[in-house]
């Protein structure tokens, strides 16, 4: 049962954090939570399809189907997050440091509201797709072993419960900080998350031999081991890899450059605006 708890927790931790951050974002922007319904439906449906067609997918494209689908899912999630990042970037400089919520009518976000919600739906739905598909496959393996299924399901429910509890705690911590601080936290979270996801794309391509891995650039497994709890948490948060190679690091930078550019651009605009007003 402990195996099931750990496996499910590992799968849901990242999705729980993503859902938490985006729900907190809705709250801060005074947008309704309704978008989470299509996001969860998309996640459950697509994960079921991936699990149901797992054999066909695994055999597709000379046995590289699983990796290509994963890479595509990671890429779609990254693109959704980049768009969200570009939309919220101005708030890092303009939003209130005192207020906890932004008014629904705030002009900086209002024109982009639909795009923001569509991207949130895709980000959550497609993050869930891959992780939950693995859970379906894992639990499906117990269907022929009724005695073990019970224990796996219980373990799975506990793992899901722990993941969701962590999400709820994080949500309430985020709700109590000011709008601007929240968006800074969200932006940093998105940067690390996209960096981590892009390293996963590199890993998929390495796994099927499309790319060839050189020697790892460093090995920090003696400091933070990926097997450890801290390692698992850092993996979920920032895509921590104790021994990445050069390709993964290149992918990391490609994914975070749009965020850094958005940051620099908005900082520049803010400075221009403040110098104009001071004249």
């Amino acid at each position: 049962m402990v195996d099931a708890i750990l496996l499910i927790l590992r799968e849901v931790l990242e999705a729980a954090l993503i859902i938490t951050m985006l729900l907190a974002m809705s709250r801060k922007l005074s947008i309704s939570f309704n978008w989470i319904v299509p996001a969860l439906v998309l996640g459950v449906l697509s994960s079921w399809l991936l699990a149901h067609y797992a054999y066909a997918i695994a055999d597709a494209l000379d046995g590289t189907g699983q990796e290509w689908i994963n890479a595509l899912l990671y890429l779609s999630v990254i693109l959704s997050f980049i768009i969200i990042g570009l939309i919220i970037a101005p708030l890092l400089f303009s939003a209130s440091l005192q207020e906890k919520y932004l008014s629904f009518t705030d002009n900086s976000i209002k024109p982009h509201k639909t795009l923001l919600l569509v991207c949130s739906i895709f980000a959550v739905g497609l993050s869930l797709a891959r992780e939950v598909a693995e859970i379906w496959i894992y639990l499906g393996g117990f269907l022929h072993q009724q005695d073990l299924l019970q224990s796996a399901l219980t373990g799975g429910a506990i793992g899901l419960g722990i993941g969701m509890s962590l999400g709820v705690i994080t949500y309430y911590l985020l709700v109590f900080i000011s709008v601007r601080r929240f968006f800074i936290v969200l932006f940093v979270f998105l940067i690390f998350l996209c960096g981590g996801l892009s390293m996963q794309i590199a890993r998929q391509l390495l796994q099927i031999g499309m790319l060839t891995s050189a020697t790892p650039l460093w090995d920090s497994s003696t400091i933070v081991n990926e097997h450890s709890w801290l390692g698992e948490l850092l993996y979920a948060l920032i895509g921590y890899d104790s021994s990445p190679n050069a390709i993964q690091v290149i992918f990391y930078w490609i994914a975070i450059i749009p965020f850094l550019v958005a940051l620099a651009w908005n900082w520049h605009r803010r400075n221009q605006a403040s110098s104009t007003t001071s004249i």
Partner: protein
């Protein structure tokens, strides 16, 4: 990996990298165990692992040290490229049955 190759891949005109002959090794999964549980592969060489799951249940080949993770459905097989590896031991395990499914890749000259 050279930058030029990366650019070619980004442009969608990748050279047939996986056509390059990599030595093949086979690992079987039976009763949630890996056979062989220790596999010796040449160091500093890209290696093609073929993992055959003889069980009816799915398994996930996972290794933090090798940085690999792949679900292998019951009765199916999977291909995973690893390396070039520095000489040393690289443990792997089956994430769905971590207590029994344990193995080791040993890279040596």
């Amino acid at each position: 990996m050279r930058i030029s190759t990366l650019l070619l891949i980004l442009l969608g005109i990748s050279p047939p990298l996986y056509a390059m002959a990599a030595p093949e090794f086979t690992i079987e999964i039976r009763d949630h165990l890996f056979f062989p549980s220790t596999l010796v592969v040449p160091a500093n060489t890209k290696v093609k692992l073929i993992i055959i799951n003889k069980d009816s249940t799915p398994e996930e080949f996972e290794s933090y040290e090798l940085n690999r993770e792949k679900v292998i459905m019951g009765g199916a097989k999977a291909v995973i490229f690893i390396g070039p590896l520095k000489p040393g031991d690289y443990p792997f395990f089956g994430e769905f049955n971590p207590k029994t499914a344990q193995g080791l890749i040993r890279a040596q000259h």
